[in-house]
Amino acid sequence: MLKVAYFPGCSLSSTAKEYDISTRLVCEDLEIDLVEIPDWICCGATTAHITSELTAAALPAKSLVWAEKQGLNITSPCSACFSRLKMAHLHIEKDPKLKKEVEEVIGEKYNGKTEVMHLTRILIEQYGIENIKAKIKKELKGLKIACYYGCLMTRPAEVCVNDRVENPMLMDNLVKALGAEPVKWYYKTECCGAGFSLTKTEIARKLSGDILKEAKDCGADLVMVACPLCHSNLDARQPEIAKLIKTELNIPVLYFTQVLGLALGYNSMDLMLNKHFINPKPLLKAKGIL
Amino acid sequence: MESKVKEINIVGFLCNWCSYAGADMTGLGRNIYPSNIKVIRIPCTGRMDPMMIIEAFHNGADGVLVSGCHPGDCHYTEGNFYWRRRYPHLKSLLEHFGVDRRRFHASWVSASEGKKFAEVVKKVYAEVKDWKDNG
């Protein structure tokens, strides 16, 4: 049985609760043992890494060390958490001085034995696409999905192991396996503007709008994401964006775990589909999935 | 003190193309340095047979300096790269046998670094003297 250390992170404990629930649900279904890191602490996203390199490395290091001690790889569905964990791991590995400082701060040794993998990679590379296919209860036939990766899952290039930075395919392959059709589009890694979502909302609106419009233009029924921040920009802001660009958008934004959950036969309540601003149920009903 | 100065004997192996020429440059610039160093001209630090250094210490040299071209400048393109590998190993081995690390040195001195050669010899002399005086 595949066993991975699980770092949910703050978003998944609050605004993106549905991501956490669906993640745990599908992993249980697929018999992937997610071992939640006891007393996990903040990954330090954004605030730490723009202020102190040491804090940015030391915060995730705590979790890394725990996983290493258990002999487990570590995963987080949240792209920001994943990015911080991965970058901390890489920085500590590359910089002996930083390593020493980090070890001093956390009072433990880190040997770099644990690998940080995004949940999509765990599913596709470690669990295996064929194994997922075998578990599918309901093929998502006729559903056109735009896979939106965002920035943190794929950048910088070092974190994007076994995938193309400029045209990632991990989620597209998953979608294909589930019987749905991944749309060919070029906005997979465009910026959603999350960095400005609180300070200069108009930028976030503009950028997220571009993404949603492009998805729509390319014929997508829904957008699939792997990041709570992307989700909040694309989903929660969608009504205002639609108003702003004077276009009917109404394109549901789902976490990839939710999409996977649908294929595994779970219902809307199981996957907390009701938590989205853009209600996906009409679409899914129309496609005969719900 | 004079006799003490005389007692220190340093053997210098200088490559013909850079360091020997550099030492010539030291002369042209009239940079004074301790006279304890006796220079042996070799074509290249790659020619430096570690046995010769061991023999020098065996014969009673207090210090040995081997100097060649800066990496990448070797007249024979890569001779000094081979020397750069022999040196740390030999120094470590000699130290294991009880030859103090202050007694054996290597340097890069180019044909234009006359001043540097004088500085290197002064440094080597000071180190050897420190060993002799303070054990």
């Binding site: 070029y186 | 042996i40 040299a61 024979y76 081979y82």
Partner: protein, 662 residues
């Protein structure tokens, strides 16, 4: 017993002002073997040298020590002196008591004098161990091998042949011409590449001194300067010498399944083909991997249509061995494969093409006969974006170097496009323009001013297909704006890199190459066409990216170097080189591994009667006397003449013993 003379120079007062020279001379007299020791005001002057010659005659000396200035200054002077006195010139050692003593120890005359005595004594010890050395001569095979039939190889071959020496020119394709033959026009004059190249190609084929081996590859090299032995594989062309180059076979060949590499894979190529219409030699070859006959045993159309029965399916690869005295390596370049650029579509977007593909598109002999059309739908183009520095000046792609020609050819291509299609608009994304060369900057200015090419200083972040257009997103760092251009075609300025297999090829000659695979010249400034291997020279882009004029100049330089070797009857070899005592050689190959010049050969040799051993041998004409082998040899089998183990050890011993006066 050696008979040594010691000559101590005052150098005016340069030495004697600090060093008590008479004491040095007196001390010399007490040393074993020293028959005479004198001091003199200027040893290097004519009277000084005559003093030496006289002393040699009077005291029947067989070797001398000159205690004076640096041997780097006057060693040659005194070697000549010895020769005039009838002695072997290598029986002199110099003790440097000026640069190394009087000029640097003027603070203490006593210590300076003692050091001078010591240095002189060390030289006496060394000269006692000196051996008579004689200059050596090696024979020269006056035939040159030129590898690579591009413009560099062509030029080198023509120049060497013009001097009257035989040349073999080896080209792996079926025709010479190389990269230059693929180009449409050349910068900065915009004259047609083929028009200036073709006469040179014809000249090669007509030169009696040049043997042209196309469709051939060098497979093995042994030997050394003057005596290289090279194995060349002549691949089976399947067309013999009866061919008159009429081209009927090519026209009639029904097999056009493969793509033409020469045309950047933009057009088809027959199974029997000539590389391009002006090919030299104009003899087609059959690609046995795609030919229907060779695959299925049926077809034979070319054989049937050939008016001279020149098609010969039974031809075999042929391996020939030839001897050469010198080699010119001109193996050229490949362009950087842009499929590693994700932002440009991983090489998967059909209408994002390489610069070389553009050359073929716009060339009237190319696959589209000069029509610049989109490879995806064959439609004509309106907006074209050129992106520079693709695989050049890019750390992330491990190509930090500038490819030197891209700025110029991009400007040229944009201009040619406008000439052909006045309604088109070109955009060039660049880092900065490098147009150093005669009329180069003016050329780029013309592109901007007269041809209306829009130059945008910045990188492209993304290219993607939107409908049947390409959306090019980039930054214009001069205005600070983000730019989006809807383009029909994107042309990348691919950088230059060594030919695939350049590393393996360099190993044939034991040449060194840099981290990218470009062959290393012996010295970046003073020996730019020589390599560390004597007698092997490099020309053109296999050494580093360069344009046509530089390539041609470099090729001519190699020809001059080759001719300089051939102009001598025999090769003179300095005797200060390494030698192996094969009796004590253990055959461990350490010296063979470390020699920077591949001057060591391993041989199975009878070292004693009845005892054959694997031992090292020094190639005397190749050895440069660095002595790395001596420093590395554990068996102490290899030694360096002039700096022998005996000499250096005796210097070490003398250096460490106190000054003794009897």
């Amino acid at each position: 017993m050696a008979r040594i003379g010691v000559f101590v120079c005052h150098c005016g007062t340069n030495i004697s002002g600090v060093v008590d020279v008479s004491r040095v001379a007196k001390y010399a007299e007490s040393l074993p073997g020293v028959k005479v020791a004198v001091d003199y005001k200027f040893m290097c002057s004519d009277p000084g040298q005559n003093t030496i010659i006289d002393a040699i005659k009077t005291h029947n000396l067989d070797r001398i020590v000159v205690s004076a200035c640096s041997p780097r200054m006057h060693e040659l002077t005194f070697r000549n002196t010895l020769e005039r006195a009838g002695l072997n010139p290598y029986m002199v050692e110099m003790a440097n008591i000026r640069e190394h003593v009087s000029w640097v120890h003027s603070d203490n005359k006593e210590l300076a004098t003692e050091k001078a005595m010591k240095l002189m004594e060390m030289s006496v010890s060394k000269v006692r161990r000196s051996e008579v050395l004689t200059k050596m001569f090696a024979p020269i095979e006056k035939r040159a091998l030129v590898i690579g039939g591009g413009i560099a190889g062509i030029q080198a071959a023509l120049d060497i042949a013009a001097a009257g020496y035989k040349v073999v020119l080896v080209e792996k394709e079926s025709s010479i011409g190389g990269r230059m033959a693929q180009l449409d026009k050349t910068f900065p004059t915009l004259d047609c590449s083929a028009c200036i190249l073709t006469p040179k190609m014809v000249a090669v084929s007509q030169d009696k001194n040049i043997t042209l081996l196309t469709y051939a590859e060098v497979t093995e090299v042994s030997g050394f300067i003057g005596q290289f032995e090279v194995k060349i594989k002549k691949k089976a062309k399947s067309v013999n010498s009866k061919c008159i180059g009429c081209g009927v076979c090519v026209t009639k060949c029904p097999n056009k399944k493969s793509l033409s590499d020469f045309d950047g894979r933009l057009g088809p190529r027959k199974a029997i083909y000539t590389l391009f219409p002006q090919a030299v030699p104009n003899v087609p070859v059959i690609d046995r991997e795609t030919c229907t006959f060779f695959l299925t045993g049926k077809c034979k159309i070319c054989e049937k249509v050939c008016p001279t029965s020149a098609v010969d399916y039974t031809q075999q690869d042929e391996l020939i061995t030839e001897k050469f005295g010198a080699v010119v390596v001109a193996t050229g370049f490949d362009i950087y494969d842009h499929s590693s650029y994700g932002e440009y579509g991983y090489g998967e977007i059909k209408d994002v093409i390489s610069s070389l593909q553009f050359e073929r598109l716009i060339s009237s002999s190319g696959p589209t006969e000069g029509h610049v059309v989109r490879p995806s739908d064959q439609k004509e183009v309106k907006n074209v974006v050129f992106i520079q520095c693709v695989g050049s000046r890019d750390e992330s792609k491990k190509r930090p170097y500038c490819s030197r020609v891209c700025c110029m050819y991009t400007a040229k291509q944009a201009m040619l496009l406008k000439d052909h299609y006045p309604e088109t608009q070109s955009y060039v994304f660049y880092i900065d323009i490098r147009a150093a060369g005669k009329n180069y900057e003016e050329f780029v200015q013309r592109a901007q001013n007269d041809y209306g090419v829009v130059y945008l200083r910045g990188r492209v972040s993304k290219i993607y297909e939107r409908g049947n257009k390409l959306l090019v997103k980039g930054a214009d760092t001069l205005s600070g704006a983000q730019v989006e251009i809807e383009a029909d075609l994107v042309v990348l300025a691919n950088g230059l890199e060594p030919r695939k297999g350049a590393k393996e090829f360099s190993q044939l000659f034991h040449m060194s190459s840099d981290q990218y695979g470009f062959y290393n010249e012996l010295h970046p400034k003073l020996a730019p066409v020589e390599t560390a291997i004597s007698g092997v020279f490099v020309a053109g882009c296999c050494q580093s990216p360069k344009d046509i004029p530089d390539t041609v100049a470099m090729a001519s330089a190699t020809a001059a170097k080759v001719c300089a070797i051939f102009a001598k009857e025999k090769m003179e070899v300095e005797p200060l080189i390494a030698g192996v005592n094969q009796l004590t050689c253990s055959g461990c190959e350490t010296c063979y591994n470390v020699c920077p010049y591949s001057a060591i050969e391993m041989k199975d040799k009878e070292v004693k009667r009845g005892e054959v051993r694997h031992v090292a041998e020094v190639l005397e004409s190749v050895c440069k006397g660095c002595g790395v082998c001596v420093g590395a040899c554990y068996s102490k089998a290899v030694d360096l003449k002039g700096f022998s183990e005996r000499q250096i050890l005796s210097q070490v011993e003398t250096a460490t013993m106190p000054i003794t006066n009897s």
